[in-house]
């Protein structure tokens, strides 16, 4: 019993540390990457290559006063940033980084991650409503409708993968794809000929679920000032920021596990955690690359994309896969 | 082409009383239409109308397809008059700039609004009201635009002291 408790504590600490370190250094990577794209150097003064920038930013945020706007709903206002960060950390618990590295493997890992992911929408809604700011309310309503409409194609696609692999256990899904890149779910197989398209749909959805550009309607800075976190300063803002990056890591991890074979090596050699990390950071680099290339979509363009393109295609894919599984 | 037709149409407002063409703007002159040398003045037609002829004159220009450039005022304090100047121009290549001006006494500066004809006159009239205190009768929203909301001074009047 006590061993289990210790296990849990160690797992949570590692998950928090991993999430926080990722969040901090992904901000650095994003700023450096964006700067390179725009032909600037980016943060390069503090420490070598500006590597001390994230901790210094953290200190700055922590030393600032936490302001609660007059008339705001205090409880919701305080709860929202925590709610943005906590589910992301919880999701790490079930992600298998390699065969032996997973805090707690669950048979319903996919379900659990999706359950926690949908709590992110709640955080945004609380933040927007609690701040008593018109911009924030509009942003939160946008973000919720966006999350709702993108969860559907995302789930349908995930179900397709689950059907093909016959399990909701993330570890089992990874293991089913072991043995070289031709076994990965991203490549079409007899049962699922449209898998590359599924991968793209899943990728787009994870962009939208994490409120990343070009789907960052929830913070749409040129329209809604800063969206749902307009009124947040200090670490409240910091938590939202970290939550966003933690969610990106979750999204990339899930994509890797469902489509890119988890920790499997493309050539069937030396499988291990490094492959997993390489894959998720490549995906995150693509996230960053996309953000600094495209303008923002409109709210109706975003919903049109989901309801008119992504959902029909993913539904078709689901039915096709189901039929093929039945036939063969 | 449009120059002649517009001139005739504006001329009709005055029923024959044409002032001498040599009269300079700025010095007092009677109402009427003048043609100006574009090379020197930068516009072709210069019509001074009475306040009650203003709407008729602007309607003529509206029907002829002119667009509104600006509205402004001039304070002729020596003559105890305020002048409102309306600039019109055309989008097509039949270049014709028309200036409509009207003079009103300084102590009772009221002219009818033309924002019913040209919606874009709205801000120009508000601005002129800000700067000169000229009231545009019938204007839908005559509150200070460029000056502070509570401004009760008119800085472009010549007797304005900051």
């Amino acid at each position: 019993m006590s061993l289990t408790l210790l296990n849990v504590i160690v797992a949570v600490v590692i998950a928090i540390a991993f999430a926080a370190a990722n969040a901090a250094y992904l901000v650095w990577a994003e700023r450096r990457g964006a700067a390179r794209i725009q032909r600037r150097p980016g943060p390069n003064i503090n420490g070598p290559f500006g590597l001390l920038q994230p901790p210094l930013d953290g200190i700055k945020l922590m030393t600032k006063q936490l302001m609660i706007p007059g008339g705001a709903d205090k409880i919701l206002f305080m709860v929202a940033p925590v709610l943005a960060m906590a589910p992301a950390i919880m999701s790490f618990v079930t992600i298998p980084f390699s065969k032996g590295i997973a805090a707690h493997n669950m048979e319903i890992g996919v379900l659990m991650i999706f359950a926690f992911a949908s709590m992110g929408a709640m955080a945004i809604l609380f933040a927007g409503w609690g701040s008593r700011n018109k911009y924030s309310v509009m942003a939160s309503v946008r973000a919720v409708s966006q999350n709702v409409s993108y969860e559907i194609p995302m789930l349908i696609t995930a179900i397709t993968v689950v059907m093909v692999n016959g399990s909701m256990d993330l570890k089992a899904i990874s293991l089913a794809q072991a043995g070289g890149f031709w076994h990965w779910n991203i490549f079409p197989s007899l049962h699922s000929p449209l898998m590359p398209i599924s991968f793209i749909i899943f990728f787009i959805c994870s962009l939208a679920e994490t409120n990343r550009a070009p789907f960052d309607l929830g913070e749409a800075e040129s329209e809604l000032v800063a969206g749902f976190h307009t009124e947040y300063g200090s670490m409240g803002f910091g938590l939202f920021f970290m939550g966003e990056y933690a969610n990106i890591v979750i999204g990339a991890s899930l994509t890797t596990i469902l489509f890119l074979g988890g920790w499997d090596c493309p050539f069937g050699m030396f499988p291990g955690v490094w492959w997993f990390l390489l894959k998720i950071y490549l995906l995150i680099a693509t996230f960053i690359w996309i953000r600094w290339t495209f303008p923002r979509t409109t709210i109706y363009g975003l919903l049109n994309l989901s309801w008119k393109i992504l959902i029909p295609i993913s539904l078709f894919n689901l039915l096709l896969t189901a039929g093929l599984l039945k036939v063969f | 082409m449009i120059l002649e037709t517009t001139q005739q149409a504006l001329q009709a407002l005055f029923a024959g009383s044409v002032p001498a063409n040599g009269a300079e703007a700025g010095s007092p002159r009677g109402n009427g239409v003048l043609t100006r040398d574009y090379i020197i003045h930068g516009y072709h037609l210069d019509a001074q109308v009475a306040v009650d002829q203003l709407l008729a004159a602007v309607t003529i220009l509206d029907q002829a397809g002119f667009f509104i450039e600006s509205i402004t005022g001039v304070d002729w304090i020596k003559e105890n008059q305020l002048e409102v100047i309306y600039d019109f121009s055309r989008y097509d290549f039949d270049t014709c700039r028309v200036v409509i001006r009207t003079r009103i006494p300084r102590d009772q500066p009221v002219v009818p609004t033309i924002s019913t004809i040209y919606a874009g006159a709205n801000w120009h009239e508000r601005e002129t009201h800000d700067f000169f205190g000229i009231k545009f009768a019938g204007h839908p929203h005559l509150v200070p635009l460029l000056l502070p909301e509570d401004a009760d001074f008119h800085p472009l009047l010549k007797d304005f002291k900051a």
């Binding site: 303008p295 979509t297 | 090379i39 930068g42 667009f67 509104i68 919606a119 801000w123």
Partner: protein, 372 residues
């Protein structure tokens, strides 16, 4: 997307966009009555950076007023200064040497490209794309370097004088301008691929915020806003001034009336400006840059003078009422964005806020120029 909607008055709320808001690019306030994300009614509130330039025009001599003009529009200052010197030269009957006029045209067009580049970057940033702004600023920097080498300033130039120029261009400038043109053309191709062709960008602008030609006429909209509504109006062509008749260039006109049309007009205009600069550099005559008798203490004859020029934002007009003194009796500045912005109130009714702010970006606002 922008269909009018029916609702009860008690269902709306007021949203203050500005005076400090990222989309207004300065201190402009739009009071919007909103129904959810739809705008029911909008009222623009101006005057936050009003400085009464017109009164200053009455207090200062004509020469002393020169620096004021570049404070109107900090992005395309030369166009406004050009209008001022042309008005004085017209009224006082000053002949300007040909070389000076050519240099004026070249620098004005360079400034126009710089202004449009900055607008392009800021507009795409309004739509959420940040990198194009940085690329645009890189290109603009070359222009500012060139203009700095000639005029001594980067934004508020004060370069033209009555009867000529402050100083002559040198060979370095001509070389730099010649190098700049092909580089800029390459950049324009890059922008076309990166931004104009982008599906997200197209979907955001096409068919959004229609401004009819009739509406332009009623509000007196000029410049790219009018040209995006199918009106072939450019003061450089309609009322040729300076040496523009000598140049072979087209006026881009689009008939779609939407935000995309206004965007395309400006992008095409940059190309046309490059053509003018190219021809200007080729034809640049040698000779003096100042009239033989440098005018000092200018006094204009009694009268009322008007001069319109095409600036980066539209038709800028300057009216000088002179009583024969050495400063103006009345000096009126007709700023193009003032009229262009005016139609925003009417045009944005029933639009989504994000479309309305994109529309506002497509009007190319420079607030100090509007407020004067």
């Amino acid at each position: 997307m922008s269909a009018p909607i029916q609702l009860r008055p008690d269902e709306t709320f007021i949203l203050n966009v500005g005076p400090q808001h990222p989309a207004t690019h300065g201190v402009l306030r739009v009071k919007m009555e909103m129904d959810g994300e739809y705008i029911v009614k909008a009222e623009t509130v101006l005057g936050y950076v009003h400085r009464m330039h017109e009164k200053m025009g009455e207090n200062r001599t004509y020469a002393q007023y020169l620096p004021n003009l570049s404070r109107l529009d900090y992005l395309g200052a030369l166009g406004y200064t050009h209008g001022h010197v042309l008005a004085i030269e017209r009224a006082a009957g000053i002949e300007v040497p040909e070389r000076a006029e050519y240099i004026r045209a070249i620098t004005v067009e360079l400034n126009r490209v710089a202004s449009h580049l900055f607008w392009f970057g800021a507009f795409v940033m309004d739509l959420g794309g940040f990198s194009p702004l940085m690329y645009a600023i890189q290109d603009r920097e070359h222009i500012l370097d060139m203009l700095e080498a000639v005029t001594g300033a980067r934004l508020t130039y004060c370069y033209y004088r009555f009867g000529g120029l402050y100083n002559d261009v040198d060979d370095d400038f001509i070389e730099a301008a010649k190098r700049f043109i092909p580089r800029m053309r390459k950049s324009l191709k890059k922008y076309a691929a990166l931004v104009t062709g982008n599906i997200i960008f197209q979907k955001r602008l096409e068919g959004i915020a229609p401004v009819s030609a009739e509406m332009c006429r009623k509000y007196g909209a000029t410049g790219p806003v009018a040209r995006g509504s199918g009106i072939n109006f450019d003061v450089r062509k309609n009322e040729p001034y300076s040496v523009y008749p000598e140049f072979d260039f087209d006026v881009p006109v689009y008939h779609e009336c939407d935000s995309m049309a206004r965007y395309k007009v400006r992008m095409d205009e940059m190309e046309q400006s490059l053509r003018i600069i190219e021809q200007g550099l080729e034809k640049l005559p040698s000779g003096p840059i100042m009239t033989e008798k440098k005018p000092k203490n200018i006094k204009l004859p009694v009268g009322d003078f008007y001069q319109a020029v095409e600036t980066a934002r539209g038709s800028f007009g300057i009216r000088i009422v002179s009583d024969g003194d050495k400063n103006a009796y009345r000096l009126k500045l007709r700023s193009p964005t003032y009229s262009n912005m005016h139609l925003f109130d009417e045009a944005c009714e029933g639009m989504l806020i994000m479309d309305a702010l994109a529309f506002m970006g497509s009007l190319d606002l420079v607030i100090p120029e509007m407020d004067r």
